[in-house]
């Protein structure tokens, strides 16, 4: 047995992509499947450099459709498995992701959002929110974490495997190209030493014993004969998802208690929002920030409380209203007006948010 990749705790200076590779190692992941695409490539580069040293595996497939399906296949065999992709690769991978919803396959997908639509830029955006939460021809029975720092990337990559295997829904770490390439320090740790037990994996097909005699047969289906049959299955999926949702939702709040204006932002943009709140508070303005960490399921109860006092929500994102759509669907009926600050495919700084809010008066 190879040494543990991380012993104890240690601070390193790394890019976000490396963080994901190391976190997957620390999470005792058995195998990564992948097909190259910027800006996720270094996840694969580092995984393939490190994996042999720690007895882990990698399979490069012919495209993203295959990378997604092989990840599902790896999970069937009981492996803790993941893949990573971005942009057009995320689009192609929707079919296996849908299958993972239908068959309750605990596969983990790391997405590093790039510009869209289509090939667009290899750099950055938050334009894969809708695709990642609701892509595929289903009901969006997916769990989506939106990290905002390298520490988040480390923590939530590890957590994604546990969430996936505990609740048996495909689980996503929705990063972006900035986080992928950004350099900052992070504390890496062995989860076990922090008291985080990795959720055990198990074979989903090919289990021990005679099916129907020693055990229930594992009959995994993504195809049904009639509307009625399907409807029963989808209802079960939906029920299971919403039953688990309250245990899964996560968020962060910054000075929301007495805030007249609440900035809602996720992912890397939370950093700008947090800094903007500090600056605006120093200027004597009652501004707070609500950050959904899970975009799916959405932490709506917490958000309702956070905006209870607010006179206005400012919705800030590097997309033309994808988080906005989520929020509006969840907040239907709320009287708090939502002012958009959309910059599709562009980074957003705290100075820009401060200026926007100050100009509004």
């Amino acid at each position: 047995m190879a040494d543990k990749p991380i012993k104890g705790e240690k601070r390193f200076f790394v890019t976000g992509n490396e963080v994901v590779a190391w976190a997957a190692l620390a999470a005792d992941v058995d195998i990564m499947y992948g097909y190259p695409i910027t800006p996720q490539n270094e996840i694969m580069h580092y995984w393939t450099r490190l994996a042999p040293k720690y007895g882990r595996k990698f399979l490069q497939t012919e495209d993203e459709i295959s990378a997604g399906f092989t990840t599902c296949g790896g999970v069937f065999s009981g492996a803790r498995a993941f893949t990573a992709t971005a942009g057009p690769g995320n689009t192609l991978m929707q079919e296996p992701m849908s299958m993972a919803e239908m068959m309750r396959i605990p596969a983990v997908f790391v997405i590093t959002q790039r510009g869209g639509p289509s090939t667009a830029t290899v750099i950055y955006s938050q334009q894969e929110v809708t695709l990642t939460c609701f892509g595929g021809n289903g009901e969006g029975m997916r769990i989506v974490y939106s990290p905002g720092s390298h520490q988040d990337l480390y923590d939530y990559t590890i957590k994604a495997f546990n969430t996936a295997w505990k609740y048996r829904f495909p689980t996503f770490v929705l990063g972006d190209g900035y986080q992928a390439k950004m350099r900052e320090s992070v504390i890496m740790y062995d989860p076990e030493e922090r008291g985080v037990q990795m959720e055990p994996t198990e074979k989903i097909v090919g289990k021990e014993g005679m099916p129907g005699v020693d055990r229930e047969p594992a009959h995994l289906r993504n195809t049904y004969n009639t509307e009625e049959e399907l409807n029963v299955v989808v209802n079960e999926l939906v029920d299971a998802f919403w039953k688990a949702a309250p245990e899964i939702v996560e968020h962060q709040e910054f000075n929301c208690e007495d805030a007249d204006i609440v900035i809602v932002a996720h992912g890397v943009v939370t950093r700008a929002a947090q800094a903007a709140v500090k600056e605006l508070r120093d200027q004597g303005k009652k501004v707070g920030h609500f950050r959904p960490i899970t975009l799916r399921p959405y932490p709506i109860e917490a958000m309702k409380k956070a905006i209870a006092q607010a006179k206005e929500i400012i919705l800030v994102e590097s997309a033309e209203g994808q988080l906005d759509k989520l929020v509006k669907a969840e907040l239907y009926g709320s009287k708090v007006p939502i002012t958009p600050y959309f910059r599709p495919g562009m980074g957003i700084t705290s100075e820009e948010i401060v200026e926007f809010i100050n100009k509004k008066g």
């Binding site: 240690k10 200076f13 890019t15 490396e18 290899v122 950004m182 350099r183 320090s185």
Partner: protein, 220 residues
């Protein structure tokens, strides 16, 4: 005046560009004529992109692509700019910022007339804060994989969480690796804000080079 020609190579995110930019500016401040060459063909001008004009204004000659002169960035492959290939014919000092890793180091093969420029020195930039080069054995193995190297730069840091002890620890670990590799440590770099706490030399007597942060304004 002895001409200075230096190529900076090393692990991804080891600080090559930061070290190269600072070195070029240090030389410029000594009233030398300096050309800085961005020879990263994996991610060209991502790093220098927002800085290019500012550095040119200060008097550096910069050989790097402008984004609008290229197409299919990151998707269609990159070509080396012809003037980079002949960078060593430039008058004055030449600082080459080379792409990362073993494959990146091979980019140097594309530069013409190295044999006519025996003053060329290839320095590997190392940071013990990088997981892959955090220990002595890993550093030795890594540097050996890079091809010809004339010296090491201790660029150990943890971004904003850097303290002097970490830098000195880097000097000790990289120093010990350097000894086994039979290579000199050319310098230990430190953020200028820590300058007073260290003085002109690190704990092993290697010269200190102060770094001003430029790369934090870059995007990638």
């Amino acid at each position: 005046m002895q001409r200075i020609v230096e190529a900076y190579i090393g692990e991804y995110n080891s600080g090559k560009s930061e070290v190269a930019i600072n070195r070029a500016l240090d030389l410029l401040n000594e009233d030398r004529k300096v050309t800085l060459v961005d020879l990263d063909i994996v991610e060209p001008f991502y790093t220098l992109r927002p800085l290019k004009k500012e550095l040119e204004k200060r008097g550096l000659t910069i050989l790097a692509w402008e984004t609008q002169d290229t197409m299919g960035l990151g998707e269609a492959g990159n070509i080396i700019k012809p003037e980079m290939k002949w960078a060593l014919r430039r008058e004055g000092d030449v600082i080459l910022d080379i792409g990362y890793g073993v494959e990146g180091a091979k980019t140097l093969n594309l530069v013409e007339e190295k044999e006519k420029n025996p003053e060329l020195r290839i320095y590997a930039v190392l940071n013990i804060g990088r997981p892959i080069t955090s220990e002595e054995e890993d550093i030795i193995e890594y540097v050996k994989s890079l091809g010809p190297v004339n010296g090491l730069i201790n660029n150990s840091h943890l971004g904003n969480e850097t303290d002097v002890e970490f830098i000195q620890e880097g000097a000790r670990i990289i120093g010990s690796a350097a000894e086994k590799l039979g290579l000199p440590i050319i310098a230990t770099t430190i953020d200028y804000r820590l300058a007073e706490k260290v003085g002109p030399q690190d704990c092993l007597g290697n010269p200190i080079r102060l770094l001003y942060r430029y790369m934090d304004r870059s995007f990638w």
